[in-house]
Symmetry: C2
Subunit: 275 residues, 2 copies
DNA sequence: TGCTAAATCTCGAAC
DNA sequence: GTTCGAGGTTTAGCA
């Protein structure tokens, strides 16, 4: 078995303060268990490469027979088990799991327990090829653009993205049938419900709009329903037409530009007020 | 920098056949790049613990400022970037990405490119604390029980789970409005469309059922629509009633038992035929 | 805690 | 390739 500590020589005493993390290659199950336990205690990011079986019991139940995987155990109680291919973990546990680590019959056994819903993942590992227990600090900020929420903002900033003369009244309005993205009046004063999609709109999107519009039409015969998206799956335009609904093709690049412009103006406004 | 090879001594010649994988601690960006490139060439499972920034451009676009993360690069072109907490990767690339690995300005730069949709993830890493490039074989079989598909099987095996006297006619029947889980006749010969949910049924599930049933009612006035689920969100039962639909509370444990029994019988049947 | 709807959803299956 | 629906979906937001 090999043992390494980044930035310094191998540390035998796992309890030595401020150890920046450890990596063991080909550890015994006991050594792996000790390092994982210490890592959990210290709030480290732990990774175990091993041959293992995995059992899950909870919302569903699953069995995974023996194979080599990478197991990730995070300090917030997240667990991920990754096979050598595929984006998605084959088994997992969302944050909040409580872990039990033990050695039994020469195997490393890691159990992740969660309540609400009650569920459990049991990993039985032999042939552990690596255990890493790493101190990780991540102060980084994550920002994303052109979510549906930003598309909604863009429409509120420049309603002509939907239609010339469209005037939004409210957004995210709740009705018994659900939340409507944008509600407003067209240039003729007719009410319109707009459902926004940031990607190609499917049949389901059309039905989503219909379920908002239909009940409201009982009291408002002239209510328009508009599905606004950069594109439409085959048959969706026809489906909309049959339901008395409409579609608008949204120019995403233009929406992005509108949003950028509006934010720029607000920033300039803010700066001029302060200067 | 330390260097290790599980099962054998450190291998300097990265091209040596059948190297079972390598782990580097505190490598230079160049060493990390070399090992990652070799790992990709050899179809290994690669993991990099590093301080990095991440940019994404594609279906959306995102920026992640500097922090310490674990980057996973799989042989099928999957990429995952995990922060120290949270179940979901902060950035990723589904299978099929083509990777470019280089060193520039003292940094390790890993780019994952995908076509259809066109998207790109760029990782710029400094302070690399670990790179692991691991041979992994995973012949394991994964099986899961009590998916919606199995619930459907259970209902087909024992239709009384839905209603006494219910006789299924077809399942997964496609209509212009979508796929209906189960269609059959009740004890009085009335047609019924059954929508199954393996978890608490939401408003959306009720509307999903309605969109199958409503068009069919034009030609079949007496058509019943039944939402069958282990539970129902607040207001869903009322919504169903208002739409002329019905609900049935499914006993999941009983469904599981029915399925187990039916499969057992088929197995016995199979065995008796062979003996 | 329950519920709604988005997501760079992913994944598999069918057409 | 497109479309559709399930998922142990997860996650954020809100009552």
């Amino acid at each position: 078995m090999n043992m390494m500590a980044p930035e310094e020589e191998p540390v035998k005493d796992g309890l030595k303060p401020q150890a920046p993390g450890l990596v063991l290659s080909d550890p015994s199950p006991q050594e792996a268990a000790d390092l994982l336990r210490e890592g959990l205690r210290r709030g480290r990011f732990n990774a175990i490469a091993c041959g293992c079986t995995v059992d899950y019991e909870g919302r569903s139940s699953s069995k995974l027979s023996w194979g080599e995987r990478l197991v990730l155990v995070k300090r917030d109680g997240s667990l991920l088990i990754h096979r050598p291919t595929g984006l998605e973990p084959v088994n997992w546990q969302p944050p909040g799991a409580i872990f039990d680590v033990k050695v039994k019959g020469g195997r490393l056994i890691v159990t992740g327990n969660r309540i609400s819903p009650r569920e459990r993942v049991v990993i039985e590992a032999d042939r552990i090829s690596m255990v890493a227990s790493l101190e990780m600090g991540d102060p980084g900020e994550f920002s994303m653009t052109m979510t549906e929420e930003e598309l909604r903002e863009a429409v509120l900033e420049n309603p002509s993205l939907v239609e010339e003369g469209f005037k939004p009244i409210s957004s995210e309005l709740e009705e018994p049938t659900g939340f409507m993205d944008v509600v407003g009046r067209d240039r003729h004063g007719r009410m319109a419900v707009v459902e926004l999609k940031r990607a190609v709109a499917s049949r389901e999107a059309a039905h989503q709009l219909l379920r908002y519009v239909e009940p409201l039409r009982r009291s408002n015969k002239g209510l328009r329903g508009i599905l606004a998206a950069p594109g439409f799956a085959r048959g969706v335009k026809r489906l909309l037409h049959e339901s008395g609904l409409e579609y608008v093709t949204i120019n995403l690049a233009k929406a992005r530009e509108e949003l950028r412009k509006a934010r720029g103006e607000r920033l300039l406004d803010y700066v001029s007020k302060r200067s």
